[in-house]
Symmetry: C2
Subunit: 484 residues, 2 copies
């Protein structure tokens, strides 16, 4: 089917402004938060109801046209990168909150509802939606489910998969299925978890029932400065092994501290090699007790300075620096590339040291700011895209960081997904037996491969080629990379 | 391949006593905890290593022989019921604890390790494994994963799926795959969740990495008696909506109270229509505060008597009655049939009333004892298998209870699984679109259908037949059953 035929077919049930195909209209959709990858879609469709989504899918299924779903486009791994011969299916207009049940503590919402809008809507009941990605003001809950998003508080409150109960999903054929249940468990295979984090490759989500969490009575923050990153890493391990599960535990290295302090004046210690922020929340007595224990452990682990937030303003001020790390990077460098890998907590100091070595090797600065409690690193590689060759060097540096994460027993993504960015690393992360199963599952849902083709799960061919290349590279340069 | 050929093939790498085929040797394996269903397997194999398991699978795959995995055989839905032409694969001898990491708070164990043995092994580090099914002294962790088991404390600490990190699994071809990760999330589709609760139909688990939980500083219990079951149900809702997540919240009805008090003399109020047990655990101050809040809510909800455990002995004594509910049922009736359904908490009182009505209709007594906090009912239907027709009546009554759970917006199993017992109810719980996806997933893992055939996921044919039957039944007798 030609583009114009498809446009008129879509316009038979969608308003004119809900079917875009002119180059200038398509431009805003050519990338998501990973701007290094760009692609213009054939058509952008902006349905407003589930029925419209179903019709679009039925047409695409009948005519074998690829479909890429998109929420707010804040994803950082290129999961919503369009397909040049496909429809970019924006779910942004499906943004109604359908039901709030304060007794069961659930809300049923459409996929285009913003993460923060849920918390705002349920605030009158002293409830909130716990997962809080940095982009929560803009990102949509549908995208959160597709990427299984986390956030600063996921150490204590879990990822998206731990905070949703039910999904309504359209298959590629446009047929509605309902998965999950109001109970803790649902019979049959766990389709709810399978769909969560599947990056738009198994179905199109049209409704999400989320769990809501009671707002804690109190939250308080300990900020500790260390003159040695190893000591800060030890403090993280010691807090966890004391049986404390902080509401958040974030670390920043020296270069980050300087960049954000310069920008925001949050009161960070400029002599520190690392700063740890550790938050406790809950009932007032419980928080007081936990803050006391955390401070003692920080001290015993060798902190050179400890500050405890005395009020809500101070708590937010301590957080402000951490939350501004990305814009601060933008101030000290023309461009930056945000990585996302996880490692076992005990390997923190060593992996940070390895990243420092690579930073010297590639001649590129790297800020380290991360969810220390769950070992989720976000190295920000600073570069200048206008310098010839620097983007390529940055990508090679980033790939090496992910390989180090795998070698340390970790994974190539904590919360940003695989998307288009980490397809090669998936070949390292998984053996062919596991990759074959991924393909078999994809085939079970979408045999024609029309949903978000080319994302998240690398083709067998790609991994075979990369394997050959890797053997070559590892013989010459990277002797520690496992061979596949 | 004949039985004797298979026996000699298996004995080429397994010791003689690890391959059973004489009738008297097969007898102990003919059922699991659901003794109403019995079947003798062709052969029982008892491997001791993963390599042996892989070889058995390779042989069965090559010769198209069904394989049914079994742990301790404590399952309550017949998930481990043997196949008459298949191998019953006991994993009981794979019972080594391979690794304990008290810093990362994980343990890597083989599937035959008993649930309680994990907690015993990690007790020196003040850690334990949180999910605690009633059978925890006997049931194996492999079986727990297969059924996604819960327990009294899963309201606060989650089900099995929330307490495991990694699995090593053999496919039906005997190939090892590793799924999950040490991080909070793993890239690719969530195979870990998919495998959990899949009742041995997707692969054979050979290693499990579990999360360990720090032992709480203190635990304390509130026991409240109510003269009206509606008021007890209100108390449950009020506690949850106050933002409290109790460590456990259990309810018993009058007939249960009498049966257990008669048996154990735990101090339960014999005038009560319902007793609620509600536990708080955590740091001492936190527990004191929570117990205070819980007691106040119980009072405001109309409790006629409230007792708070004054010490550990008293706490265990209050629990003893609840934990002895099943043996107590055995004392007041020759046989009992334990059901397992979930409902939204707000429908508790109404569903209990409906069960009472059915009890009169069928002329069978029913004890109600359940995890009130998560709406997981365990009605125990009391009957006498020696009375002709009474088992059939009991099964019909049980099926009606599950249908009521579905009608109330709940599910047909909270933690016992579908197994062989609830295949018909799966046809009611899910529409054909969802059931088709279940079959497609099964096909992705085990295209020949050799792993635990005939369990958990009903055939399309079965549901079609049942659908016809149900329309008929609903026209005559059960007008509220939804038609499929």
């Amino acid at each position: 089917m030609s583009r114009s035929e498809l446009v008129s077919k879509l316009r038979s049930f969608l308003p004119r402004d809900a079917v875009l195909y002119e180059t200038e209209d398509l431009k805003p959709y050519e990338c998501d938060g990973l701007s290094a990858y760009r692609q213009t879609p054939m058509i952008v469709a902006l349905p407003q109801t589930e029925e419209e989504v179903a019709k679009i899918l039925q047409i695409c299924h009948a005519t074998q046209i690829p479909v890429v779903a998109r929420g707010a486009g804040t994803g950082l791994s290129g999961g919503a990168l369009p397909h040049n011969e496909g429809i970019l299916l924006s779910l942004a207009k499906l943004k109604r909150i359908l039901e709030i049940d304060p007794i069961a503590r659930t809300a049923r919402v459409q996929p285009g509802v913003r993460n923060l809008a849920i918390s705002e809507a349920v605030a009158p009941y002293s409830l909130y939606y716990a997962p809080d990605p940095s982009s929560q003001i803009a990102c949509t809950i549908g995208g959160n489910v597709a990427e299984n998003s986390g956030g600063v508080h996921c150490l204590k409150y879990g990822l998206t998969v731990h905070n949703i109960l039910k999904l309504r999903v359209l298959t590629m054929e446009g047929q509605a299925i309902e998965i999950g249940s109001s109970a803790l468990d649902s019979p049959g295979y766990d389709l709810l978890a399978l769909m969560t984090g599947s990056e738009g490759m198994l179905g199109i989500i049209t409704e999400i029932t989320v769990k809501l969490t009671p707002k804690p009575e109190k939250a308080q923050l300990v900020m500790a400065a260390f003159n040695d990153i190893q000591k800060a890493a030890d403090a993280v391990a010691n807090i966890i092994s004391a049986g404390i599960i902080p509401a958040g535990m974030e670390m920043m290295d020296k270069i980050t501290i300087h960049a954000v302090e310069d920008f925001l004046h949050a009161g960070y210690d400029l002599d520190a090699a690392a700063i740890l922020l550790c938050e406790a929340d809950g009932m007032t007595e419980e928080v007081a007790d936990e803050i006391q224990k955390i401070s003692t452990i920080m001290q015993e682990s060798g902190a050179i300075k400890i500050s405890i937030s005395r009020n809500e303003t101070e708590r937010l001020c301590f957080w402000a620096g951490r939350k501004a790390a990305f814009p601060a990077a933008g101030r000290v460098s023309p461009d930056y590339y945000c990585m996302d890998g996880t490692i076992p907590r005990k390997r923190l100091a060593q992996v940070l040291h390895d990243i420092e070595t690579l930073s010297a090797e590639y001649g590129l600065r790297c800020m380290n700011v991360f969810h220390a409690g769950d070992g989720n690193l976000h190295p920000l590689i600073l570069y200048d895209a206008n310098q010839p060759g620097e983007l390529e060097k940055t990508e090679a540096f980033g790939a090496r960081i992910l390989e180090i994460c795998i070698e340390a027993g970790g994974t190539i993504t904590g919360e940003h997904g695989v998307g288009i960015e980490k397809l090669d690393q998936m070949c390292l992360q998984f053996k062919s037996a596991e990759r074959n199963l991924f393909h078999a599952i994809k085939h079970a849902f979408d045999p024609a491969g029309l949903l978000n083709p080319g994302k998240a799960i690398p083709s067998l061919h790609r991994c075979a080629e990369l394997g050959a290349m890797h053997v070559h590279r590892s013989e010459n340069k990277f002797p520690t990379i496992p061979r596949f």
